[in-house]
């Protein structure tokens, strides 16, 4: 019981404290790749502190939705941190939701963020909400079909079970269907977390921003919570990719030293994925908004192939 609580606490802290570091790492890597020195690695923490010290300015047009949303964002991400087998497959709360529940929790957060974008009554917020929901809706079929592809091979949609099976059968990972599903989910990750080439996290140019447009009215502690939550979302998506498809290092029990080792391995895996994202963002331009559906339907096709390959190759 106590160990269970400790494990969940460790996962919570890992996500909560690791998220700003991940954001800082990607920024730093991008800066180096672009030949800049960039801000220091820990800059996101300093930003958070700055926002927390400032008072929150809230538009007079807004309602409680606007003020409630940042808290919901952070809560949903922290809850997800409890469900995902980040360190060990034996998470006490793992049974409370499978991978589909997780995706719907993320959609809940997106839903409220889009509402908050409309709440202040500025054209920017509405534009961001509309675009965000378009992309979220179009990404949804890819997510589910990719999950289907995984479930076909593993025989389960439980996160812990997928990790366990992947770790015990190394041949599973070499399966072409699995690889296709990975690529499909990777593209979806870029879309869901607002990275290039779908959305540019560092832009404040009115006509191109999506996520940034939605949260334009936030300031102070609200902004801190929203930014923290989007960092956590990125962390969670990358660790999902890392642990579901490359489950090496995840502890199969609750042994303390193995869990500790799992933390180190996870950090390496997420760091590697962050480096891939940094390279991608440096080498790619943002897509026009109406080209994004083409990219997403491409990823959908990959996921579909992943499923079809199971039925036709078995």
């Amino acid at each position: 019981m106590l160990i269970g609580i400790l494990i969940e606490l460790a996962q919570l802290l890992l996500v909560a404290l690791g998220a700003p570091l991940l954001v800082g790492l990607i920024r730093k890597l991008k800066a180096r790749l672009q030949g800049r020195r960039g801000a220091r690695l820990l800059q996101p923490y300093l930003d958070m502190r700055k926002w927390l010290v400032k008072e929150a300015v809230v538009s007079e047009n807004t309602s409680w939705i606007f003020r409630f949303t940042p808290y919901l964002q952070a809560s949903v991400m922290l809850l997800s941190a409890l469900l995902i087998p980040l360190l060990t497959v034996q998470t006490p709360l793992g049974f409370t939701g499978n991978i589909i529940v997780l995706m719907y929790l993320f959609l809940l957060a997106t839903f409220f963020l889009a509402l908050a974008g409309l709440d202040a009554g500025s054209a920017f917020g509405g534009m961001g909400s509309s675009r965000e929901m378009t992309i979220a809706a179009l990404a949804e079929p890819t997510v589910m079909i990719a999950i289907f592809a995984i479930a076909l091979r593993v025989g389960s949609t439980s996160l812990a079970e997928i990790v366990r099976r992947g770790a015990s059968e190394s041949m599973l990972l070499l399966n072409p269907g699995h690889l296709l599903a990975f690529i499909a989910l990777f593209i979806v990750t870029l879309a869901e977390t607002g990275r290039l080439p779908i959305d540019n996290p560092s832009t404040h140019l009115e006509l191109t921003m999506i996520h940034e447009a939605m949260i334009l009215e936030y300031s102070g502690r609200h902004l801190a919570l929203v930014e923290w939550a989007s960092g956590m979302k990125l962390f969670l998506f990358l660790s999902l990719l890392a642990n579901l498809f490359f489950p090496w290092g995840v502890a199969m029990n609750r042994n303390g030293s193995l869990v500790l080792l799992a933390g180190v391995v996870l950090a390496l895996k997420v760091g590697l994925l962050a480096a891939i994202i940094a390279v991608l963002e440096t080498s790619m331009a943002k897509l026009r908004l109406f080209r994004v559906p083409e990219l997403l339907s491409g990823s959908f096709l990959l996921a579909l192939l992943a499923v079809a390959s199971f039925f036709f190759v078995r």
Partner: protein, 678 residues
């Protein structure tokens, strides 16, 4: 489980029906005083609804009755009966009847002096009684007569606001579609009765077991079309987006929440009770029609800015989701996977109940807005969350529930549907597997689009600044309307957090139909489908969310964050004035979807600018029209009506007006009939 005798159940049914009859006749008798008619009609309906509620609970607990009146209608007599499936749909009807009556009591006050409340009260009670009896009917003729009664009563209700042209058109469409469906049912039942040799529902299952041949398929298609047109599946849906907005709001809630579910009831009876496991194409056809209905329903809803029409299109979508469960169940049954068939059917039936609840809630919310702002056009709303805070919360709950997000009820049923679709890989037929893959993708796309649509519906309607004077002056609606909405909102949460009791009743319902327990374990704290294939614990998720939501403000306080808040203008790029005209509109919100799915919408765009005669740099007026066309009306129904009209024109030749010729026709018809029926 308490056993209740048949006599007591029948007495309960008689009391409920007597209430409805008293309400119907009372409203007519008191027609002189609109106020009195309103009270009599609604109070009777509430009492009758309570009676139905008790009856349905008794039925779900396993009590049954059978009742036969041989002489009331000729040939087959009236046969009524109660089993778990009937009891479950009776529960849906009872919930709808109770809340719609409580809501309607206040809502119809506006009609006093404008529309006939006597006719309304009569048709309303008649409608409720007919719906309750439809699910209890136990032979073909009884069923058809009650079905037609239900359709006619709902037609009368749609026509309540008959001083508007839109209502007349909607009523006509509804009348035509419902009778086309009725014709299919009539022929289907007659063919079935002919081959089975009886109109008795209870004996059909045994008699159709060894029945093969084209007539069996014909019966399935005919009854499927008949029930499908009532359920509103695409392409038989065109009456929904016309009739639901035209009807008074309590009636929209009842039609959308309850009546179209009786189409589902018919399809479930057809697929699981009257026929045993059918050929694979039956289930596949249902699954494909369901997927098309779900995706196209929500896509049409997205570009709709009339709040009630938007909700009507969402009914098409949700019927699709329900039928995904039903169709999957039929396919599983074909391949002998009965435990999975039961799981899929449980999912479909749970979504039936959930949709009845959140769609009634949303329609009632739209009615409250309609009364407060006198418009259904979303582009004239906005800022209502401050003027109608309680309606706003209820509508938000309904929106989150229909978008299938946790921790509300829509999520649980959609989750179960997903699991049953994913488990389809156990079917050893490749083509069928691919149909299921399409269904999974369709359901996923539907749920994403539904979330987008309800961001629009709630965000544009309730948030930011009011876009018109009507919205500016809006105020909260009366207590009884809010009470009905609140009741439904609480049910949404309750069925989402603690689905266990209802699901276990549903498990027994499907057991009665399929004969196997569903492949799922329910507990208060968790649902586990197919062993460890998928688990969810709605109670824990809701509790953890609540704890975290409370912990974060405490954490902020502990870390010494600045907790002050300053209210200021929205940032407007330095503009001096912030008005509602800067806000994003519903049209703008839906525009990306319109472009992405342009092939489907084939949008019509018109931009008329009238310039100032002196200079082209000044505009006098600017008009912009952008609307989506319905493929089905253009490509399917318009040619059909044109064909029917030309047939009519040709048939006019027969109508000479000469009595002698008509007598000759009668003679010929008689001779032909006598020859045929030798």
């Amino acid at each position: 489980m308490t056993q209740i005798g048949e006599a007591q159940l029948l007495r309960l049914l008689a009391v409920a029906l007597a209430c409805f009859m008293a309400g119907a006749l009372g409203a007519l008798v008191c027609g002189r005083s609109a106020r009195f008619a309103r009270w009599v009609g609604h109070v009777a309906a509430i009492l009758g609804g309570l009676g139905l509620l008790f009856l349905s609970l008794a039925g779900l607990a396993g009590n049954t009755f059978g009742f036969f009146l041989p002489r009331l209608i000729p040939i087959s007599g009236v046969a009524l009966g109660l089993d778990r499936l009937s009891a479950f749909f009776l529960l849906v009807i009872a919930i709808g009847a109770l809340t719609a009556s409580v809501y309607g009591l206040a809502y119809t006050r506006e009609y006093e002096g404008r529309h006939s409340l006597a006719a309304y009260g009569f048709a309303f009670n008649f409608f409720l009684a007919a719906m309750a009896l439809v699910v209890l009917a136990r032979n073909g003729l009884t069923f058809l007569i009650l079905w037609e009664g239900m359709s006619l009563a709902s037609y009368l209700l749609v026509m309540t606001e008959n001083d508007r042209r839109e209502t007349l058109r909607a009523g006509w469409t509804y009348l035509v579609m419902t009778h086309a469906g009725f014709a299919c049912l009539l022929v289907g039942f007659l063919v079935m009765g002919h081959f089975a040799g009886t109109m008795d529902f209870a004996r059909w299952h045994a008699l159709t077991g060894g029945w093969h041949g084209p007539a069996r398929h014909a019966v399935f298609v005919l009854l499927g079309l008949g029930f499908g047109s009532k359920a509103g599946v695409i392409p038989l849906h065109i009456w929904l987006p016309q009739a639901h907005p035209a009807a008074p709001t309590p009636v929209s809630a009842l039609m959308s929440g309850v009546m179209i579910k009786l189409g589902i009831y018919g399809l479930v009876r057809l697929g699981f009770d009257w026929f045993g496991p059918g050929p694979a194409w039956w289930g596949a056809a249902v699954l494909i029609v369901a997927a098309i209905s779900a995706v196209l329903g929500v896509l049409y809803a997205l570009v709709e800015h009339d709040l009630k029409r938007l909700l009507a299109y969402h009914s098409v979508e949700n019927i699709g989701i329900i039928l995904l469960g039903v169709g999957a169940g039929m396919l599983f049954q074909t391949y002998g996977l009965h435990a999975l068939a039961a799981l899929a059917l449980v999912a479909g039936l749970y979504h039936t109940l959930n949709h009845a609840i959140f769609k009634s809630l949303l329609f009632m919310g739209s009615g409250a807005i309609l009364q407060a702002t006198h418009t259904r056009n979303m582009e004239e709303m906005g800022g209502l969350i401050k003027r109608m805070p309680q309606t706003a919360v209820c509508f938000l709950v309904g929106s989150v529930a229909i978008a299938a997000l946790p921790p509300f009820n829509g999520f649980i049923s959609e989750w179960l549907t997903f699991q049953s679709l994913l488990l389809s890989f156990q079917i050893p037929a490749r083509a069928t597997n691919l149909v299921f893959v399409v269904a999974v993708a369709a359901l996923a796309l539907t749920s994403g689009l539904a979330a987008a649509c309800f961001v629009k519906a709630f965000g544009i309607t309730f948030l930011a600044l009011p876009r018109s004077e009507h919205a500016e002056r809006a105020h909260e609606v009366t207590f009884s309307m809010r009470a009905a909405m609140l009741l439904l909102a609480i049910s949404c949460l309750g069925l989402g957090v603690a689905p266990f009791p209802v699901l276990s009743f549903l498990n027994k319902t499907t057991f009665d139909l399929i004969g196997t327990q569903a492949d799922v374990r329910f507990q208060w704290t968790s649902i586990a489908a197919h062993g460890a294939f998928a688990t969810v614990s709605p109670l824990w998720i809701a509790a953890a969310l609540l704890v975290l939501l409370a912990a974060i403000p405490i954490g902020l306080r502990l870390t010494g964050a600045n907790l002050r808040r300053r209210t200021y203008e929205t940032w407007g790029c330095g503009r001096a004035l912030q008005t509602a005209r800067f806000e994003y509109t519903a049209t703008a919100f839906a525009n990306p979807f319109k472009r992405v799915f342009g092939l489907l919408y084939r949008p019509v765009k018109e931009l008329d600018i009238e310039f100032h005669p002196e200079s082209r740099f000044f505009m006098r007026t600017i008009a912009y029209r952008n609307e989506a066309r319905s493929i089905f009306e253009d490509a399917l129904y318009r040619p059909l009506t044109r064909f029917a009209q030309s047939l009519g024109r040709r048939a006019r030749v027969l109508q000479s007006g000469n009595v002698h010729v008509y007598l000759l026709y009668i003679l010929i018809a008689l001779v032909v009939l006598l020859l045929l029926a030798r």
